[in-house]
Symmetry: C2
Subunit: 66 residues, 2 copies
Amino acid sequence: MCEVNAYLRKGNDETLIMEKVYKLETSEGQIRIENLFGEQKFIKVPLKEIHFDENRMIFVEPNNTP
Amino acid sequence: MCEVNAYLRKGNDETLIMEKVYKLETSEGQIRIENLFGEQKFIKVPLKEIHFDENRMIFVEPNNTP
């Protein structure tokens, strides 16, 4: 069993956006994440890194979002 | 601690491409995965799913690769 916390990085800041993600799916340019509490989120910014050993995944907000 | 095995799906078949991945990074349209044995691979086909609870990530070979 493995769970990962999802963070959104903006500049030097990281915000926790979902805890205990157990599933990630990509589809048509967006990423769906789902956690053990039955919550789901659709992420439209790029996935940058997953550190499985630290139970962290990081999405990055581009600098110039329209 | 969390480790994930990486599979490549082609049609109905799945091939193990790397065991015990502990890190994934995306950069310029490709994905770098690295495992506990110091191996790394650069993956150019899309990441489709990660099942953290099953310690599996799945890349999918498009049907019509040139």
